[in-house]
């Protein structure tokens, strides 16, 4: 995919406008008042410290899953299984949270996070190897592993890791393993800063280092195609970078799950439901597969997601409307020919050149 350009931003905002119109029609058609919904959406997302903190909390795992998505896409692998990594990462981070009793605060948190990342990465090992050494589509294998992950963690919370005889849940994590919550009445926690740090780190590694270049050379410009011959002409083993990219992607999924358990929920239970792995794919695309773009898109998505909860609570409109609208927005953004078609207008070309020159 190309770098951010003026026409991409233009298409995104035009898409937002059209999507808002579709939302208006959809909400009216199901018998609700769109302006009321819009007001609640705004209040839930941005009004008051608590709502803003909650919006940032919603954005936390999304930043990580979006970066996980973009890293795998940019090495030329379509990792759809980040949600699965997130589940197993959360489960084992929670397990480490109550299992190790003698560690100090910093060490314990670090150990839990590392275990979550390790398990998340391990979850992606099979699809990566199957793809690179046997040509089995990683798309399908990672999707199927998502289903396996949900049932696996549910089984573990019910069986081996179960502590409570009444509810299927693991013991609560120890205080030494907690990521601190900063605001009262909000699950916003220090994990947010970890997520932002990781995204910025990813930006530098991908764009400014040799390692990042090696990773990208496998897939850039060829998102979702078979590993490009281009990188092997350069003498870069694209197979290796594909596997490494996939493992990093899984590790970040595991990290998202670990932060969710250590920072917000504090224990793992059967009904714990994640879909940030799938949302992350949408956000990654919305952010044009750039880490900084993903942060911005995640903050936006986190705010309207939190607003969506408020809408769900206040009106009859179900919160799924947010995901529906974002996927419609993706339809516009992913349509490359609309973006390309804009090039023929001289004004847009001029603006494009203006902004890309500034970046240099």
């Amino acid at each position: 995919m190309d770098k951010f350009s003026f026409k991409d931003v233009l298409v995104t905002f035009a898409g937002l406008l059209i999507t808002s119109f579709i939302a208006w029609v959809l909400i009216t058609a199901t018998g609700n008042n769109p302006s009321e919904v819009a007001l609640y959406l705004y209040e839930g997302g941005f009004k008051g410290t608590r709502n803003i903190a909650n919006s940032l909390y919603q954005a936390t795992p999304l930043i990580l899953t979006a970066v996980a998505t973009l890293i795998s896409f940019r090495v030329g692998m379509f990792n759809i299984g980040i949600n699965g990594s997130m589940y197993v990462g959360a489960l084992y981070a929670g397990w480490a949270g109550y299992k190790f009793t003698t560690l100090g605060h910093f060490t314990h948190v670090t150990v839990c996070i590392l275990i979550g990342m390790l398990v998340g990465a391990a979850w992606m090992l099979l699809p990566a190897l199957l793809r690179v050494y046997a040509g089995v589509s990683e798309i399908i294998s990672t999707i199927i592993l998502n289903f396996v992950a949900v049932l696996f963690v549910s089984y573990m919370a019910n069986g081996p890791f179960r502590a409570d005889p009444i509810a299927p849940a693991t013991p609560r994590i120890l205080e030494t393993a907690e990521l601190k919550q900063i605001f009262p009445n909000s699950q916003f926690n220090t994990g947010f800063f970890i997520a932002v740090f990781v995204a910025i780190l990813a930006h530098f590694i991908l764009n400014k280092t040799t390692f990042g270049y090696e990773l990208r050379s496998g897939g850039d410009g060829l998102v979702g195609m078979y590993p490009s011959r281009f990188s092997s002409y350069l003498g870069i083993p694209s197979d290796r970078s594909a596997i490494i990219g996939m493992l990093i992607s899984g590790a970040l999924g595991g990290l998202a799950g670990a932060i969710e358990v250590l920072g917000a929920v504090r224990y793992f239970f059967q009904e714990l439901e994640f879909n940030q792995g799938f949302d992350g794919i949408l956000i990654g695309i919305l952010g044009k597969l750039e880490p900084i773009g993903s942060i911005i898109a995640s903050l936006f998505y986190g705010a309207i997601k939190n607003g969506g909860f408020y809408v769900d609570y206040k009106t009859d409109v179900s919160r799924e409307i947010i995901i529906v609208l974002i996927s419609i927005l993706i339809f516009f953004v992913s349509a490359q020919k609309i973006v390309k078609g804009l090039e023929k207008y001289p004004f847009i070309k001029k603006m494009d050149n203006f902004f890309s020159r500034k970046k240099m």
Binding site: L126, I144, N158, I321, A335, K337
Partner: protein, 308 residues
């Protein structure tokens, strides 16, 4: 232990019943893959059709209204996929994924907003498909094996034969396979590959729609959130395991159906955690993916003839 108890006529019947939706959507996937379209969006088409079917059947209290609505929903979703990937130049995988997420959230949204219910929607007004008994089989030894199924099972057999004929006996079939194997050569031979891809996508949308309808309107007449539960993806794996041929896909689907059927039976007989039993189809899929990988490693690669 009592393995005899597990393998009897009822497991054969349950095998065919669980194979049908996978085989039908698998053949849709095979058709697409044969034409070189990676159609991840089948899952979303199934889900949309399943919901539309239940909604129309509930509103008009007629199963054929549900059937029509389901097929239209499958068609429209397929048209959206085609529009995005062939006309507007979106990546096929991204378009398919966006459609799946759209369908999952969209059907959940509509169910919660229209019916005001979360989780599942069931109502006596929803009319489902009735089993049909085949009169000329009555009294013969085949009756317990082949009679009194609903439409899906018969459709599955019919489709396998029809698609096989189309594939290998008609110009259209050749055009489809040519489009998948070598698009440039197909274009040179005068085949409009974009039109073939559109055709295949639309037809696979109908098939996925039918498959989704059988999920929601056949044995249980209800709609559950995300009720396709990965069957669209399993269909893709089945088609890949069966080399994208109709009979191959059918055979692979039987394998998945067997896993399902054994799982259903195990729930009654053994004390096994239900989650592990639910995992059987997905675990089987992973095993099949590994088998596909091994097969592809072992396959003899054609050696290019060197120019002299």
């Amino acid at each position: 232990m009592e393995w005899i108890e597990i393998f009897d006529i009822s497991i054969f019947r349950s095998l065919l019943r669980s194979t049908a939706p996978i085989a039908i959507v698998g053949m849709a996937a095979a058709l697409c893959s044969a034409a070189g379209v990676l159609n991840i969006g089948l899952e979303g088409k199934m889900l949309n059709a399943a919901f539309a079917g239940v909604y129309a059947s509930y509103t008009f209290e007629s199963v054929w209204a549900g059937f029509t609505a389901g097929i239209i929903a499958g068609l429209l979703t397929a048209a959206l996929f085609g529009l995005l990937s062939f006309t507007l130049g979106a990546d096929e995988v991204l378009a398919g994924l966006a459609i799946n997420i759209f369908a999952l959230a969209g059907t959940t949204y509509l169910m919660r907003t229209i019916f005001g219910q979360a989780g599942f929607f069931s109502d006596p007004r929803i009319v489902g498909f009735e089993p049909i008994s085949i009169s000329f089989l009555q009294g013969t030894f085949l009756e317990p094996f082949l009679s009194d199924f609903t439409y899906s099972v018969y459709l599955m057999f019919l489709l396998a034969f029809v698609l096989h004929t189309v594939y290998y006996r008609t110009r259209l079939g050749t055009a489809i396979r040519a489009t998948g194997e070598n698009p440039e050569a197909a274009e040179d031979a005068g085949i409009n590959t974009t039109r073939i891809k559109w055709l295949v996508t639309v037809f696979s949308g109908v098939l996925a729609g039918i498959s989704g309808l059988f999920l929601s309107l056949e044995n249980l007449t209800m709609f559950t959130e995300g009720m396709s539960a990965g069957k669209g993806y399993i269909g893709l794996v089945a088609s890949s395991f069966g080399n994208n041929t109709p009979f191959g896909t059918f055979g692979a689907s039987l394998f998945f159906g067997l896993g399902d059927a054994i799982g259903i039976r195990l729930q009654g007989v053994y004390e096994l955690d239900s989650r592990l039993i639910l995992m059987i189809p997905y675990a089987l899929t992973v095993v099949v993916l590994i088998l596909i990988g091994i097969r592809q490693r072992l396959r003899v690669r054609p050696v290019p003839i060197s120019e002299s």
